[in-house]
Structures are given as C-alpha cells and as structure tokens.
Amino acid sequence: MRVLHFLFLLLFLFCKCALASELNYEQLSADTYWHKLLHYKKSGNRLKSEVISPSFFLSKSGHSDPFAELKMTVKAFLSESEKTPNTTICSFPARYLWLKKQYPRRFTHNILDCKDYLAWTRDNEIKSISVILASGYLSNPASIYGHLLLRFDLEHYAHQGRNLVSPTLNFGAITPPDENMLVYITKGIFGGYEAGFTDELFYKQDHSYAKTELRDLWQYKLNLMPDQLEQLVAHSYELIKKKFTYYFAKENCAYQMARLLQLVVEEPLLNYDSPFAFPTTVFQRLAKVDIMGKPAVDRIDQIPSHQKILHRKYEQLSLKQKKALNQFIEHRHNDHDAALADFTMREQAMVLNVYLDYLDFLKVKDVDIKETKKSVLIALFKRPITPIDWTKKVNDKPPHLGQAPSTLQINLVQNTKIGTYGEFRFRTAYYDLLSNPIGRLPLSSLAMLDASIAIKENDIWIKTLDGVNIKSLNTSKTGLAGDGGYAWQIRAGIEQQELSCQPCNIFSLTGGVGKSIELSNKLALYAMQNAKLQSASLQYKSFSTEIELGAIAKLSSYWRSSLIYSHRFYLHDTDIQLTRYKWENAIHFDRNWEIRLNVEKQIATEMTASFSYFF
C-alpha cells in the first residue's frame, strides 16, 4: 500500500510539473541559455546586451534586464490564442523553442507555421550548418586575419560540396560605400561603426571571396543533432538585421559568430577575456571541442581560390601544352584550331580550359579580356564536351592545423658590443616569412603590435615595437603575365637605429616595393627598394632609401631559412650608410612551439637563440 501511495505521489508531482501554469521567471531569467539568446555580456556586476537594435527587445529595459525581457516575451507569446503563431513568436522563434522545450503545454505553436520563417528555412530543408573561413586578405584591413561565415546547407543543392544556393549568414561593419581608408581603419578600431548580420545566398560569397578576391574558403561542417540545428537556425533568423557596435580587434565577425555558435557549443570558442578575437582561433577550438559528446566538426572541405585552381591546372599541362597556351596569351590570336591541330581533343580541351580560367583571373585584375574570352568560349563550344579529370586537386592542410595567432618569445642574445642579454617578445598577431605556412598566405608576413623588451642586469629597454609590419612577396606560380605582381612591404613602429647601441630607438615608417621570383616551391628570391622616414638619431637624419635583397628557403618540412641583405643611404649625406646582413632559421617542431637561430650584422654582430610559444 505504501508503494502505491509513493507511486501516486510521484505521478502527482510529475503531472504538476508538466501542467504547471506558472513559469518560474526567476529561474528562467537566470538561465545562461536565456542570456545567450539575448547576447548579454557582463559589464561589472550587471548584464548588458551587445545588440543595440531596440527591435530586438520587447521590454524597455530588456537590453540589461533578463527578467523584464522574459516577462514581456512570455506575455507576448501567450497574448494570442489563435491557431497560427503571432508575430512575436515568428520574430523570435529561438526564444519560443526554448520556452516550448520546458513548458510544452503552455507553448504549443509550431514555429514552422510562421510563413516568413518557413520560407527562410527553405521549407525546412536546412540539413546541416557549415562554419566557413575565408582566408586572410591583405588588401582589406578588416579581412587581414580572415573572415567568418555561417552557411545553412540545403542538401539538395550541394554540388561538389559548394552549396551555392544555400542561405549564408555574414557579419560585418556597416560602412559608407566610398569610405576613406584611414577613416575606415580608425573608426573600425575605436567602435565608430555599427555592424550587423545579413543573409545572402552562398554563390554571392563564393563570387566575392573565391573568384574576385582570390581567397580560399574552408568549410567546417558541424556535427549537430536536429534539435541543435533547429536552435541555431532559429536564432540566426532572429539576428538578421539586428545591429551591434563593431570593433575591428574584438567585437568582429569571429567574435559574433562564436557567440552565436555558443548556443550549442558549451566550451568557449574564443578567449572572451582577451582584447583580440581572430577567426582562426574559432576554427582551432571547433576542431577540439565536442557538441553533446561528439566532435563538433563532422568534415572539412576546401574551396580553393580561382587563382589556386588555375595554378593547379596549369601544373598538369604538358610542356607542349604550356607552350601553346603561352603563345595564345602572348599573341592573343583567335586561330585556336590551327595552333591546337597537333593535340588530341582532350589535350585541346585542357589548354582551352586553362586559358579560360586564366582570362577570368585576368578580369579580376581589370584587364579587358572580353573579345579574347569570347573566342575561347566559341572554340570550346565548337568542340564536343570533353570532361577532364584534373587528377591533381588543390589539397592544402586545413587552417586549424596552423599556428595560433599570438606569440610569446624568449631570446638569448650575444652582441659583440653590448654583451649577453635576454629579450622578451610579445606579438599580438600573427606570422612572418618563416612561420609555419599552414593556413596563411604564402611568402608573406603580417605582424601587429609586436614588442621586444631587452633585459641586461639592471637595464631594461625597448628593442622594437612594431605597430604594423606587413610584407608580401606576391610571387608568380606560373610565370604567366598577370600572375603575381609587385612585392611590397609597410612597417610602422620603433626600432633600434644600430645594433651596437642601447637604447638608441627611433620611430620609423618604411615602405617598399619590388619584385620576387619563386625558383621552386623551396626557394624564393626578392629585391625591394625601400623608403624610410624616421625620427633623427645620432648622426642619422629623417629620410633614407634602402635596397633590400632576400632569399627564403624551405630546407625541410620543419626548417625554413632566410637570408636578407640591405643597404641604406641617408639623403642628407650619402656618406652615411648602414649595411645589414641577417640569416634567420626557424625550426617548427610542433604547431605551438618554434625555435629560431639568427645571426645579424649591422655595425655590431648579434647572435640570437629564440624559443617561441603560439597561443
């Protein structure tokens, strides 16, 4: 009998929970999931939403009061008892899903009855979500570290994984069309822009990033249960056209996309206490974490840039085919039939295929190719369809295997004038010419906020402090006209005037332009003409010009080496010159660790042994 009583009691309690008409507002409003849905961030002891659009909140104090926002949300959700969901439900489907999960008898509507929402989900056809990384792009300060997108994959439209017509969520600053670059950078850094989520079909992103800006796209397909997929889709819909404040260094695309993904990923996808957020960090963490006990990433695919596809196809042409192609390019003649007469139909198709890709590549560089392209298209249309199996596909290692963006370095230095001293270096981001090449632009360096402090007995001095230091060798892989361009560099910061003195710092601005050549995939050479503006120091005045010659070599899979020679002339007195030699070696024994051994001569000779940790 006691057992029966106990069972009745259990049943009673169960029914009471299930049928409870009163919501526990205190408990619900303190739930971290509710805070995630409202994009709250702790500001001291208070919560404050990062969304600045008033339309995102139903309560007047909703941007900082989760309790008030919950009350108003529930009230609005329950305000109409019609069969079809009301406008509030349809505007906030993720909030509704969350409440429905806990109080299924109070919240009975199906969010798919919302016409606009159903249309956005393509009649509930979204079967998976891919997080997409567009590789770094040096021509756009906002995309220098890469960009992040979220694609809602419609399985039916997946063509070789590209999913061109799937809706894709983007986050970025809302800027005037012809914004001045300096204003753009300044406002971007100091929060002068609003930002927001927009959706476009993926082909527009593919066109912009892979075909026009020639950037690789990396797709990380998430391993989601249907419930998690539904939550992310619903919340993404809520965020479209909602505004945030944009900060280039932190509250950027990586940060906001990571915050969105945290709805279903428990472990942090960024270090939210850090003043910086980098897109690659999100991917490095995604590759490590679980979602409900399963690896967060199901599969990884690369969409190579148009330029990379062109390079890989060009490699697969025979010498004879390359010669024919070069003649077409050189003479721009239209008599393809005569020039290709000695080739089989398949070989002809290969040459014309690469020629067409090459012309599309030139078009990106604003070369007028209209009539030439028409003649190549006609030549291909005249021939029977000859599908080509390009056996060598672009197959790079995914970017999450590359080094983390920030560096801590400890150096031991032996200087012929100063003696032995220690050096501590912190680089906020990112890499240099000798860094691990995975996931970054080849033969380039990109450093921001890079500081070295030297310590010798009781003396401490700043050795270098770079605000920005970017170099791109821009080599040509094919030797075809237009492939590759000018090598260039810019640098702004504090440096030592001479290796032999301490402290003898100068503030300098350096810009350089030149040419480079990649002799093989193991050796590149470059020459640059630099111009330097600096604060006067010792006998040196403000303006100088410099010749710089360099060689970058890949000596093994883990050892890279560079040799740089430069000679500087000061314009006020050409007898004042500075010559510098630097031999630098990087040994990558792990993606998070690196050893460097350098020798540098410029008045004094300095030998350095470095130990770097990337995080």
Binding site: A173, L201, D366, L377, F381
Partner: protein, 148 residues
C-alpha cells in the same frame, strides 16, 4: 446539354492548362533584367556586409513557390544573372559547380545542358548584352527542361 457540359469541361481544362503553362518570366515579370549586375573590384571591397534591404529581402524567401516573391524561378534567374560568366564557362567546358547548380535549380539534367549547348554557342558569339545572354540561357534551359 451534354455538348454544353463537355464544352464547359474542355474550356475549363484549356483554362487550367493555360494557367499551368503560363510560366513566369523573371526577366520581364520580376524585373531581373532591370537589375544592374555589380562586379566587385578586388580592391574596392572594404566592407564585409552588403546592407541592402532589397537584395536580402529577395533572397530571404523559399524555393518552392513560382512567384516573384522569392519563387524558385526567380531564384534561378537571379543565380543565372549574377553568375552568368561562371555558368557560361562551365557550359563551354561541359562541367562545373555553377552549371550543376543551375541544372538543379531549373530541374534539368546534364543531357539538357548538352542540348542547349549549340543554341548557347550562337548566343555567346553574338553581340548581345550580358543581361540578354543570361536571359537567353534561362529561356533555353526553361524551354528544354519543360519540354521533357
């Protein structure tokens, strides 16, 4: 009376079939032809977001309805209009992701693509404007795939 009845049925069938066949031409009916195709110069892309209510409103609709409000035909037409160069190149090569996506959107198969190749060869060779060529491709595929 029977004659009247049969005539009414026939008329009704004709009307229905007329309605089914009156397919939407997004170029003329939905203003695709009036859209200006914007090519993004590499150096000019300084923002990552196109904050364009019109564009997003168009793409934020379903793929099922045959209407201008984001109907399947309009999405196919927009895709062809935006990606014409890529589809044209794929069609010439006989393969490619953009061609495959077009065929799926238009409910066509690879044999349909081969069938419109000769027609497209003369379109490509012509001096028609880009938007006209895109429309010609859409129409050729629409006709070819509807004829099956």
């Amino acid at each position: 009376m029977k004659l009247v009845k049969y005539s009414a049925i026939a008329l009704s069938l004709l009307a229905t079939s007329g309605m089914v066949n009156a397919k939407l031409n997004p170029w003329t009916d939905c203003g695709i032809g009036a859209m200006i195709f914007q090519e993004t110069p590499a150096a000019a892309a300084i923002s990552n977001v196109i904050w364009d209510l019109g564009t997003t409103a168009v793409t934020s609709a379903g793929l099922s309805e045959q209407t201008c409000e984001g109907g399947k035909d309009k999405i196919a037409a927009e895709f062809i209009n935006h990606s014409y160069e890529s589809i044209e190149a794929d069609l010439a090569k006989g393969q490619g992701d953009y061609l495959a996506a077009t065929l799926t959107l238009m409910s066509c198969n690879t044999a349909d693509a081969s069938a419109v190749r000769s027609e497209m060869a003369s379109t490509v060779a012509s001096s028609q404007a880009r938007v006209e060529k895109a429309e010609a491709l859409f129409t050729a595929l629409n006709t070819q795939c509807a004829a099956k």
